[in-house]
């Protein structure tokens, strides 16, 4: 049998600082091919280019995909490479054509759940892990109302924003802040809720 083919079409798909390395599978009829993934950061390529470090999660990997999030831990360029193994046969390494920098990750607007608990305006944001904070903007939808801003350190937990008064809806929108790379996502859709009842009389 000829030499085992090297994996092709390497690419990194990165969203919200989760980085997935993907490649085209090497197909051998009747055989089960596994893969090894290695990386080197800018330090290695500058000071010790012979050094490649096995990926934390994918040495070996069974499918044509590897989560390299735990390997990319600095704001530098990373080289990534993959090779296939079938029994005693090992392919040549295939290296990602362009080095990957986590600054290129796609930041999506956060999932935002806006609810009312009695007269209380309560939100819950998507939990994206410790790498993220959230900027939350909220306002009472009436003329002249001022927009309030609140930083929320973690998602996945209810956050009380305001005690509402009847008579006008309260609206909320949010964006993520990726601390490691200092970038914001776009805003989520604004979501509004309103409490029923008589507007409280102004204190005389």
């Amino acid at each position: 049998a000829g030499a085992l083919a090297a994996p092709q079409n390497l690419s990194v798909h990165s969203t919200n600082l989760k980085h997935l390395l993907r490649w085209s599978p090497v197909v051998v009829p009747g055989g089960t091919v596994s893969y090894s993934v290695e990386y080197q950061g800018e330090y290695e390529s500058l000071y010790a280019s012979h050094i490649w470090i096995p990926s934390s999660r994918c040495s070996p990997a069974v499918g044509p995909e590897c989560d390299v999030t735990d390997d990319i831990t600095a704001n530098v360029q990373y080289n990534l490479r993959v090779r296939a193994t079938l029994g005693s046969q090992t392919s040549a390494w295939s290296t990602l054509e362009h080095p990957f920098h986590r600054n290129s990750t796609i930041l999506t607007p956060p999932g935002l759940d806006v609810t009312k608990d009695g007269f209380h305006l309560v939100i819950e944001l998507e939990d994206l892990g410790p790498q993220f904070e959230f900027l939350v903007f909220y306002w009472r939808r009436e003329s002249g109302a001022k927009e309030q801003v609140k930083t929320v350190r973690r998602g996945g937990i209810p956050v009380h924003l305001e005690t509402m008064e009847p008579g006008a809806p309260y609206c909320v929108k949010a964006q993520t802040f990726a601390k490691a790379i200092g970038r914001h996502s776009a805003f989520s859709q604004a979501d509004c809720v309103e409490v029923q009842g008589e507007a409280l009389p102004l204190a005389l």
């Binding site: 950061g41 800018e42 330090y43 000071y47 600095a74 704001n75 530098v76 601390k179 490691a180 200092g182």
Partner: protein, 155 residues
């Protein structure tokens, strides 16, 4: 977001927590290899009472030494995967810090930069007193001391 401020030198895009986690993951393994417990490279005279103005010069010299000497040679000596991974994370974040440090070269800063240089020479002198193997292990093992000092400038 958070950043380092070594006096006038500002550094963004480095999560100190990532550095600390990288070192803590291998701290016990690395420090267990250090048999010379009577010697400390990062003595108090090196890191104590460093003024803000001095700090940029000192951190520049320290990180340059760690990148050029400690990690480079330590990389060659370790095949233990966890240490390679931690060493890589630290080294690559040190590169990010170094790339943003621009210590002033102006004349009026000469005495301050010389004071920082004397502190660095104390560290390097102690390093050179040891056999290279022992010195590398000790310097790598003392990264918690360096990171703790750097934390004072993280805000």
């Amino acid at each position: 977001g958070q950043e380092f401020r070594f006096g006038p030198c500002q550094v963004k895009g480095v999560m100190l927590r990532e550095l600390q986690e990288a070192f803590w993951a291998v701290k016990d393994t690395v420090q267990a290899q250090d048999n010379i417990t009577s010697v400390r490279l990062l003595q108090q005279e090196v890191l104590q009472n460093v003024s803000d103005a001095e700090s940029c010069y000192l951190i520049y010299a320290m990180l340059k030494f760690y990148l050029n000497t400690v990690f480079k040679n330590y990389h060659n000596r370790t095949v233990e995967f966890r240490i390679m991974k931690s060493s890589s994370s630290l080294a690559n974040n040190f590169i990010v810090i170094m790339s943003q440090l621009q210590p002033s070269q102006e004349d009026e800063m000469l005495s301050i930069s010389e004071s920082a240089h004397r502190r660095f020479l104390l560290f390097r002198g102690a390093f050179r007193q040891l056999d290279i193997e022992a010195a590398l292990i000790k310097a790598f093992g003392e990264l918690d001391i360096l990171l703790a000092w750097m934390e004072k400038f993280y805000q």
